[in-house]
Each structure stands twice: as structure tokens, then as C-alpha cells.
Symmetry: D2
Subunit: 414 residues, 4 copies
Amino acid sequence: MPASEGPVSEILETRGHLMDTGILARVLDDVLAYGGDYRIDRLDVGRLHDDETYARLMVSAADQASLQRLLMRLQTHGVNQVDPGEALLRVVERDGVFPDDFYSTTNLETVVRIGSSWVPVEQPEMDCGLVVDIGRVRTVPVSDIRAGQSVVCGAGGVKVVLPHVDRSEGDDFGFMSSAVSSEKPQSLLLRQIAQQMREVKADGGKVLWVGGPAVVHTGAAPAMVALVENGWVDVLFAGNALATHDIEASLYGTSLGVDLAHGRGVEHGHEHHIRAINQIRKAGSIGAAVEQGVLTGGVMHAMVRQGKPFVLVGSVRDDGPLPDVITDVIDGQRAMRAELPGVGFAIMVATMLHSIATGNLLPASVPLVCVDINPASVTKLADRGSAQAVGIVTDIGLFLEGLARELVPGWTNA
Amino acid sequence: MPASEGPVSEILETRGHLMDTGILARVLDDVLAYGGDYRIDRLDVGRLHDDETYARLMVSAADQASLQRLLMRLQTHGVNQVDPGEALLRVVERDGVFPDDFYSTTNLETVVRIGSSWVPVEQPEMDCGLVVDIGRVRTVPVSDIRAGQSVVCGAGGVKVVLPHVDRSEGDDFGFMSSAVSSEKPQSLLLRQIAQQMREVKADGGKVLWVGGPAVVHTGAAPAMVALVENGWVDVLFAGNALATHDIEASLYGTSLGVDLAHGRGVEHGHEHHIRAINQIRKAGSIGAAVEQGVLTGGVMHAMVRQGKPFVLVGSVRDDGPLPDVITDVIDGQRAMRAELPGVGFAIMVATMLHSIATGNLLPASVPLVCVDINPASVTKLADRGSAQAVGIVTDIGLFLEGLARELVPGWTNA
Amino acid sequence: MPASEGPVSEILETRGHLMDTGILARVLDDVLAYGGDYRIDRLDVGRLHDDETYARLMVSAADQASLQRLLMRLQTHGVNQVDPGEALLRVVERDGVFPDDFYSTTNLETVVRIGSSWVPVEQPEMDCGLVVDIGRVRTVPVSDIRAGQSVVCGAGGVKVVLPHVDRSEGDDFGFMSSAVSSEKPQSLLLRQIAQQMREVKADGGKVLWVGGPAVVHTGAAPAMVALVENGWVDVLFAGNALATHDIEASLYGTSLGVDLAHGRGVEHGHEHHIRAINQIRKAGSIGAAVEQGVLTGGVMHAMVRQGKPFVLVGSVRDDGPLPDVITDVIDGQRAMRAELPGVGFAIMVATMLHSIATGNLLPASVPLVCVDINPASVTKLADRGSAQAVGIVTDIGLFLEGLARELVPGWTNA
Amino acid sequence: MPASEGPVSEILETRGHLMDTGILARVLDDVLAYGGDYRIDRLDVGRLHDDETYARLMVSAADQASLQRLLMRLQTHGVNQVDPGEALLRVVERDGVFPDDFYSTTNLETVVRIGSSWVPVEQPEMDCGLVVDIGRVRTVPVSDIRAGQSVVCGAGGVKVVLPHVDRSEGDDFGFMSSAVSSEKPQSLLLRQIAQQMREVKADGGKVLWVGGPAVVHTGAAPAMVALVENGWVDVLFAGNALATHDIEASLYGTSLGVDLAHGRGVEHGHEHHIRAINQIRKAGSIGAAVEQGVLTGGVMHAMVRQGKPFVLVGSVRDDGPLPDVITDVIDGQRAMRAELPGVGFAIMVATMLHSIATGNLLPASVPLVCVDINPASVTKLADRGSAQAVGIVTDIGLFLEGLARELVPGWTNA
């Protein structure tokens, strides 16, 4: 990357609950971490804790490229240029390759200055480029960019808007913005998640689930089925494993039913899952297997019966896979992306791979709860930039049963 | 340790479900691991899976001291000498010091050949010596041995009896002998533990609880209180932390109550717990604080009200501590030991230190369930010789609430 | 699955170190776990610990389908039918679908009775079918099976041969067959792994590495580069992440170099990795980027320079990806499979996804070491049937540096 | 706790790097978390990142008791009253009980206004009271307070001074203030810790080690012995377990030596450790055992030979214990406290219990490194208020060997 001619700087500003949320501290810390420097030119502190704070600062960096990268970084905190100017557009020369200085997106609400008006970015998604097309701006991943498209370059002409945090509502759900912990009253969390889901549904939003095979292992499939059948699962993202284990449990009910019912913890016979997959391949698809009466129970069966969409994306460790599994991961991302519009709440259960994948695609405005017994899964999601993620370290089986009890009146795991 | 004159050997035998339980494999493995060798002289295998197997083997070691240690080791698997002879007794010369070759106990049912009759050992406990006194044999820890007492030395004259495993009852509780796992149907486990507790109580046995502070942190105190008030907690072993957090939550209800009720996850004020301790010290004891109306809620309050004993043993990280805490750990072990007779079931929740301590003292005949969200706590207990331990990796809060729902009809965490 | 007419049985036999290795115990346990029953007809126990044991048992199950599944299961322990007869072949009717009762493979050495001679299976791999073609038998995954091919069905005519364990060599490497642990002398393990790698190379075998991005995060890239440059890495399997982080560290050396050199632990700028990917996409491939002088350091650069093959297989969480990444996971498995012939040792470092994927493909005869700081990664691999896996819970950075010191004389991380 | 008459408030101030360190954000957050409210009256922000910031704020709470607790809380962040006035003293009425409103200490440098002069607190330690005695002020834990002593009550007249963080030196050691991580270049950390230890020793300070039994399990004893013998261990805090395992490894060298040397991972014979303890009890003490030639190697032997003090404090799970173990935990704390003066650096290795215990006693001014392969141990220490703690998640064995290589020229684990 060619060095510029010398130190360069830019004037930035930001407004919001910068002090007690620690945002300003993180902003200043990032400036230093990126090798830049800052000068605070103005700071109008909210005197009362409900007041907003306004900060204006000058940041500098060794060269223009570094400065532009720093500016993009700071935008993830809602810090924008005072005078962003017009967006700089460049034409893509080759399919699948951005210009060197392309603007790399956050997952926050973003507006772009085109022809002296601010155009909102459609479908915010992180790590994409911004394609401008007849007055519209949308995110495009590098794999989908095509020669001839116009892409925003540099940080100029771009503004990011932080989600508004209404602190007075902290009592409802905001508390969950605190760190990952296994030491929180889980019953309370359960109730709050149920409440959140009710509100999203009431507003016409969709509830997206992302699940791993432990949903089945932990014996939580009946609870999950109850949730599906009662309309609490609008879309399901998963891999080959969740669907296979679920189908295996349904198809080989006698043996595996005993297993789950008695908690034997039998290491699954190596041949059962591949046989289950073979059965569904023979039927043609999961839906066909339901139709043909081959598959008569379980989570996938319930999804088919409810007419709810699912996206299964493969991974390199898959056996089979099931015919419904999308084996090309980039195609898989496209299929997931296509289901996101309208999603108002996302819940990720016992899966690290598909959770991170979904977190990468979701706009920051969608609340996201990640539930796992392994603290690492939960932290990893938050670390990767899904700042809106709330982590709950708990037992999947008991959690899903508790959620079913909250949302499905009269449900018991008898 | 002085070397003996050359290879020595002994003929051993054992009977039971040696094959499908893997015991024989472990026995042979241990012989090699201890530097010895074996020859299988006879093996009458149970042909059907309900039949018992009988094995006779010769084991050899480089010297007498090694052989004796190996014999003691094999006794932990129920392997005894064919011809154990009489027990060798030596008189203790100094307080708190065993003879060099003292017999180190297992926690299994044990009998000692004294004057040509087999005398059962009272209160089996691991890592003790066996004191013989007018025809009785009892376990004594090294710290309690006194000069002049007669102690069994060497492995001769000692037989260990493995707990009888009735495999036909495997469906009730036996499954739990499988390894630690977070991937088991937790609801089923809950139901089985509740059933086990009902049976122990029906037989007049006591239920021992060992608990850590996460019982309070996870918001499970109301469930725990319900269990205490309904007679499901006969004895409680804990440290300063569980009692302090519980009392702190009761005393500073306004602030911490809000905390627990809203899940704020507030790092507890450093001054609250020391203030809570100070209040109880002023009252004189937890019981006195209940009597004086200072302490009006929580787990410890419920224990006092129910007239159920608790043993709080201190640790080096304690603040305060509460006046009820036994600060000398060896005295603490004695106090715990004194509560063990009559215990028919032990459940350990969210505490590694006191769980291991209790595991060290319990006879192997007492079923023991260890519940923690951290797999390491659960494995550690099993690793230390508490082979009867069943580990459950789950969320403490949801687990205790589930148990309360099973055992206390009508209970809800409303 | 249609039930058969009633209880059916089969006579099985096995030979080897069945007792002290616990294999027989596991066999009997599996019979019960699969709902079958057994009768031991003969047991010639090795009297000395170097002698082999021979066992003959009758196993029974409720119906033929259950019995066949049980027989396949027991073959994973090296238990075969006394009278296996000829293999039953069926013709595949549709692409990608096996006959219902297809023989599902283990990853063990296997022979099939075809036309009264025993034919060895080429390239053992688990969860495949066995295709018979002009006297040859090879494993084929369900996704690659084609209509018209002949596939072995049922357990008849198939024998599995357990790997020979030479217990007298236990001191060299065999100790590592013990369970996963973070409490083992890591230096000793390091030395033994180095020794194992030297022997494999001396025998003309290839050393396969499977790596995750933590190789770069932990600062171990220089050690890894030294290992590559000195010929200790013959093939590398990884995902988009390892390669991207490695390339990112090379391309943005100034900023990220500072980071790694000073351990700042800066959360990587969200734009850096996507920019690194874009650079390589522009170059066309990693190899092209090396050739064009764009990429001048790091692990991938060293692989290219040494002319050693690498297979990068994508996952659904990938950004970009790099142009070398195979985005179709089934194609990715095929590419990995193609590199396996000749591999004599596999080492998996800090990656769960690609480790399990590789474990699925590897014959059981290839020794496999899995290194991670997270015990869960290590256990998961062993749980999934890669019984030959040795798990080491340790720090990746210090481990790779230690290995470099062992294998590359004079190497220091200065 | 009796409620006061209504909302009360106080004016506070603080100065330092409040912005980019996030301290001010935490202060404001704590005010709200404690149920109080704030108004920022003045904020002089450092314009450049090296400038200090000055903040004055009014905080209010519902009653006087709440306000005083809030004020004490804020002092942990270095926020003091603008007009603290004189300290209020009360006379203790009963041994072991503080007045209700006693000032509960932090572990920070603190001064108390007595008779119009500021008196520094001797030996800062958290969760203590402040005893005033003829113009001197010292920390006293609740268990050591005696009737008749004068104790500071309320937050008035007390000021806390935050440790000065010289940000320009960040490159040396400051980076380690970042969060716990297993993904940091461990070699670099090793080098920096070695450097820190050299500087502390050069300044005449003592290096305190706190260790758990994994020091022995991981095979790191030789490295630890080398560190002791070369003067890098001035004091050692541990429990019965570290010393016992170390002594057991020395006494039963033949069997356990083989074990450690070959990594067998043999579950230690239950009788070995109790036999080792018995031997030392017979000798009278560890020192006596060294003198008598009974104990001839290992870490404890090296400590005795070097004439360096160690404090072993018991826990309720101990067997034996060794005669040197202090079984009363409060006495144990006193013994540890007595060794703290002069300590300039503390390193805690593979022990949660004794690390937290030591963290409770140490002034915040002593840098503290906590090393464990289990992230939970490391986080727990930091969570309990030892804010100066730096956590390193790594392999103990490789870490200690690396440290020995850094500090002991020519050392190898050959």
C-alpha cells in the first residue's frame, strides 16, 4: 500500500450517550490503537444522565490510507466527519475485485452523500462494498461485485448512525447488553426473551432461529417442535448436522427414542446418521420425505408442516449431505441473505459456525440473542463485531423447555 | 523406601460384572501402570450378560513394598487376595504419624481379618488408616491418629467389597454412570434425581447438599428455599461465600434485590458482603440473626427455621468470615464427618472445593450427583476417586428451578 | 424400516489385547446399548499381558435389520462373523443414493469376500459405501455414488482388522493413547511428536497439517514458517481464516506487525481482512500474489515457495473469500481426499471444523495429533470416531515454537 | 438498615486519564447501578491524549447510608469528595465487629484526614476497616478488630489515590492491561514478564509466587526449581496440594518419576500422596525432612535450601495435611500478610483458590500476573477486584520452561 506524503487529519463529531456508555473511551482508544492521534476540540457533556453528549475531535494519521482506514473504524462507533463532502465513486474493473480504497461497510445504519443528498444504504451488512446505482445505494459482498459497477471509495461522503439506545427502557431488555455470564438469573432472561419475541411478532416482524445439533442431543426437540408449531419460528438457519440428527431421531425412533428417553448417552452408531441421510436422499428432499410419509416427526418435519422456510448450509465436515443442504457456502450466504428482510429478532442456539455466519449478515438493528453452554461460543460472536449480541451461557435443553413453557401455554415435556 | 530382595507375587481374585463394566480391563491396566505384571490363572466368564464373572490372577512386583501398594490399589476395584491371612497390626508411636506401611483405605465397604473373624470397617473413608480397638475397626485420618493406637499395616487381612450394581435397574438411575456430558436430556435427569431423592427419604435416609455461591448468583435461591422448606435438604455443607451472598441478598434487599430481579449483573459492591458479614458477627451467629429478626429470608434463614444442620468451613480466600464458619479446615472436616451418618444421597451444586472435600469423606455407597455449568468441576470430582459421582453439566438456576417444580407441587418462580 | 420376523443371531469372534485395553468390555456394552444381547461361547484369555485373547460370542437382536446394524457397529471394534460368507452386492438405482441396507464403512483396514477371495478395501474412510468393480473394492461417499455401481450390502462377507498395537513400544508414543489432558508434561510430548515426525519422513511418508487462524493470532507464524521452510509441512488443510489472517499480517505489516510484536491484542480492524482478501483476488491467487511480489511473507508464502500443496475449504462464515478457497464443501472434501495418499502423520492445530473434516476422511492407520488450548476441540475429535486421535491441551504459540526448536536446529523466535 | 430522611448529595472530583481509559464511563455507570444519580458540573478534557482530564460531579442518593456506600464505591475509581472534611471515628464495642457504618477499604493508596492532616494508610488491603492509633492509620480485617479500637466510619475524610499510569511506557508492560486472552503472542509476554521481574529485583523488591499442583503435574517442576535456585522466587504461597505432589514426586521417584518422564498420565495411586504426607509428618516438617536427607529434590526442597520462606495454607479438601500447612485459614491469611511487605511483583500459576486469597491481601500497587490454562481462573481473579491483574491463558509447563530459559541462562529441560 503506497505511503502518502505526510501526516494528515480530519475533523470528526459524534453525539449521544458517549460518557456513561464508554463509547468515547473506545473511540479514543481506537485512534491510538490504529497508530493515529487525537485532539478533543469540543466536548459538551450531558450534565444529567439522560442528556446527550456532543464531541468534536481532530484525528490525525501518518498518511491518507491510514487515515481513511481509521475514519472507517471510527464510524463503527458512530463518529462521522463534520464535513464529509460527496462520496467518491470508482468503477469496478474486474468481477469479484473492489478498487483498493473501497469503503468497507459496518452493519450499522448508513447514509451516503450522492449528488448533494443523503441516500440511505439498503440492507446494512458488514465487510461489504457500497454499490451506487441510479440514486440507490446497497451493500454488495466482494464475491458478488461485477465489473462496471460503481463503488464508494474512501470514507468521505459516508455517515453512520448509531442505533438509538433508550436508556429509560433499560428495565425491559437493555440490561442484557451487559457481558456474557453464566451467573445471571436465567429465569428472568427467559421471560424477557419471550416478551421480546411477542413484541416482534406483534409488530409483524419475523423471528429467525439459528440452531446446532445440540438442540436434538439435549433432548430439546419436543420443546423446539412446540415452538415451531405455535408460530415462534419463522425462519431456521442451520447446517447438515441439526437436520440430520433430528431426522435420525425420528426415523430410528425405536433405538434412538430409547436412547433419548432414557438418557443413555449412547455414542450414536456411526451408521445411523448416514442411513438417515440416505433415506432423505432417496425421497428427494426433506419436504418430499414429509409428503411421502417417510419423515413423521421432529423439528424439520414441523418446519415443513408449518410451511416455514429453512436454509441449510453445508460445512466441510458434513457427511452426505442431506439433499436440501446448500454445499456451496457462498451460495448458502446468498440464500440466508434472501431470508433476512423482515427479521425483527434473531436467536442462536448451540451453534458457533452458523451463528457467526448469521451475525456477519445481520444489520446491527436486529436484536440478537446467543445461547450456548459454552462461554466461548457466546464471546466469539460478540468479538466479531456483532455488538448487539446478547450472550446467555446456559443449558440448551432446560432453556428451550423454559421458553416453550413461557410461549406455549400449557406445554409440558411429559 | 528400602527395596526388598526381589520379585514377589500374590494370588488375587474378584467376582462380579467384570467384563461389560470394564473393571477387569482397568485392573490389568493398573497392574502395568504400577510397574507390576500379571498372569490370569482362571477366568469364568458370565456367558449371559446378567451372569457374574470370576477371575483369579497372580500379580507380581519388584519388591514387597511395591507389591503391597499395588494390592491396595487393586482393592479399589474389588480385587482381593485369595488368602488374605490375618491383618498385621502395628502400634502408632507418635501422634499424627502412621507406621510406614499402614494400610491406606478406599471409600468402599471393607472387612478386616482380626482373630480369625472378618470385622467390617465402620464409616469407610478414603486415605485413612484403620484403627483396631477391642474387636472394632474404624477409619481414622492421619491428623487424628494417636500414639498407642493399633493400625492395620500392609494389604494382608483386608478385603474390599464392591458395591453391588443391579444392572436390571439400569433404567432407573444406572444410566447416569456414563461420562460427564452437557449433551444429555436434562429434563430426564431432573426427574430421575427427584425420584432418587424421594426413595432415599422414603427409606429414612438424609439428603446432603453441598453448595457454592452460584446458587445465589444464578437467581436460584427461591427454588433452593422451596426445597429447604419442603424437607428436601437435610444437611448443607458450604463455605463462607454461599452463606454470605445469600445473607447479603437478604439484608440489602432493596439494592441487590433489584439487581437479582432485573438481572443487572452488577458487580457486587465491594462493601456489601463485608457489611453483611459484620451484621451477622454483631448478632453472634446466623441462628441468632434469625432469632433477632435481623435475617428474614434466603437459604440460610430457611435452614435455621427448619432446624436443619449446616456446616460452613472456611477457605483462605474468605472475607470476614461469618461467625458460623469453622476456620480450621481439619476441624471443619471433623464437623462434616459428624453429619455423614444416615446420609443416603448427596447432591453438589456449583462448588468445586467443598464438593471434593465432601467426596473425600463420603463412603462409595452413597450416590452422589455433581451439578455445575463448568465441565471441569464435574470431571475433577470423578478423577479424584469419587467413582460413584454422576456429573451433570447444566445451568444451576434452571436446574434448581426444575428440581423444585418436580419435588414441590405447585411451586413456581413467579 | 420394516421389522423382520423375530429374534435373529450371529456367531462372532475377535482376537487381540481385548482385556487390558478394555475392548471386550466396550463390545459387550455396545451389544446392550444397541438393544441386542450376547452369550460368550468361548474366551481364551491371554494369561500373560503380552498374550492375545480370543473371544467367540453369539449376539442376537430383535430383527435382521437391527442385527446387521449391530454387526457393523461391532466391526468398529474388530469383531467379525466367524462365518462371514460372501458379500452381498446390490446395484445402485439412483445417483447419490445407496441401497437401504448398504454396508457403512469404518475407517479401519477392511477386507471383503468377493468370489471366495478376500479383497482389501482401498483407502478406508468412515461412513462410506463399498463399491465393487472388477475385483477391486473402494470406499465411495454417498454424494459420489452413481447409478449402476455395485455396492456391498449387509455385514456379511466383510471383515475389519484392528490396527496392531505393539504394547512393548508403548514407551515411545503409545502413552499418548491416554485421555485428553492439560496436565501432562508438555515438553515430553513435544519431543515425542518431533520424533514421530522424523520417523514418518524417514519412511518417505508425508506430514499433513490442519491449522486454524490461532496459528497467526498466537504469534506462532514465524515458528510455522520455519517448519514449512525446513520441510516439515508436506500438505496444509485450512479454511479461509488461517490464510486470510496470515496474509493480512504480511500485507499490513506496519500496523498489524506492531500489533503482533507488541501483543496489543487489538481487535482487528474490520476492514483489514477484507482488504487483504481483495488484494489477493486482484492478484488472482495466493500463488500469483507471491509471484507478483505482492505477498512476501508468512505461512502461505512459505508454502508457495516450497511448492507444497494446500487445500483451503470454505465455510459459511467466510468473508470474501480468497480466490484459492474451494467454496463447495463437497468439492473441498474431494480435494482433501486427493491429498491423503502417502500421509503418514497428521497434526491438527487450533481448528475444530477442519480437524473433524480431516478426521472423517483419514484411515485409522494414520496417527493423528490434535493440539488446542480448548479441551472441547480435542475431545470432540476423539468422540467422532477418530479413535487414533491424541489430544494435547496446550498453548498453540508456545507449542509451535517448541516444535520448531526441536525440528529446526538453531531456530529462535528472536 | 434505617432509611434516612430524603435524597442527599455530595460534590466529587477526579483527575487523570479519565476518557480514553474509560474510567469516567465506569464511574457514571456505577452511580446508576447503585441507584444514585449524577450531574456533571465541570469537565476539563485533556485535549491531547497525554493530557489529564478533570471532572467534578454531584452525585445523589435516596438516603445517607446509600450515599456513603456509593461514595466508597466511587473511591475505587479514584473519585473523591471535593470537601472530604475530617474522618469520623467510632470506638469498636465488641471484638470482631465493626460499627455499622465503618469505612470499607479498597486496595488502593489511601489517605485519611485526621486532625487536619492527611495520614497515609499503611498496607492497603481491600475489605478491611481503618484503625486510627496515635496518628497512624492501618488496615485491619474484621476478624482482628478489637473492642476499644478507633475505626473510620463513613466516607468523609478519606481520599483514594489512583495508581499513576504512565501511558508513554505502554510499550513495556502496559499492553498487558488488556483483557484475558489465549490469543496473544505468548513468547512476547514471557519476555516482558522476565523483564519486569529483573527490574523488580534490581530495585530490591521481592518476587512472590503463588502456585497450584499443576506446576508439578505439567512437568514444570524442573523449571520451577531452576527459578528458585537462581533467586527468582523470594516467597511462595501455596496449599497442601502443590507441596504434597512435589514431595510425592521426589519421594516415590521410581514409580512416579517414570510417570512424569514418560507422560503416562497415570491417575496417581490413592495411597502415594498420603504416604508422602506421612513421611514428612514423621520427619516433623519439610525443613526437617530436607535436613534429615529424607527429601532430596523438588520445588519445596529448593525453597528450603535457598532459605526462602513459604506459606502453605490448608483447605477443606486437604488430606493429611503436611505438618507445615496452616490449617486455620484466618491464621493462614495473617501469615501471608506478614510476608507481603517488600513484594514488588506477584505471579500466580495454576491456582484459583490461593490466587484469589493473595489478590485479596495485595495492595493494588503490586503488579500481578495470573497464568492458567483455564480462562475462568484468570477472569475470576480480575472480577474480584484485583484490577491490576494481568491474565495469561497458556500452558503452565511450557510457560515455566520458557520463563526459566529467559531468566536462567543456559537452562534446558534436558
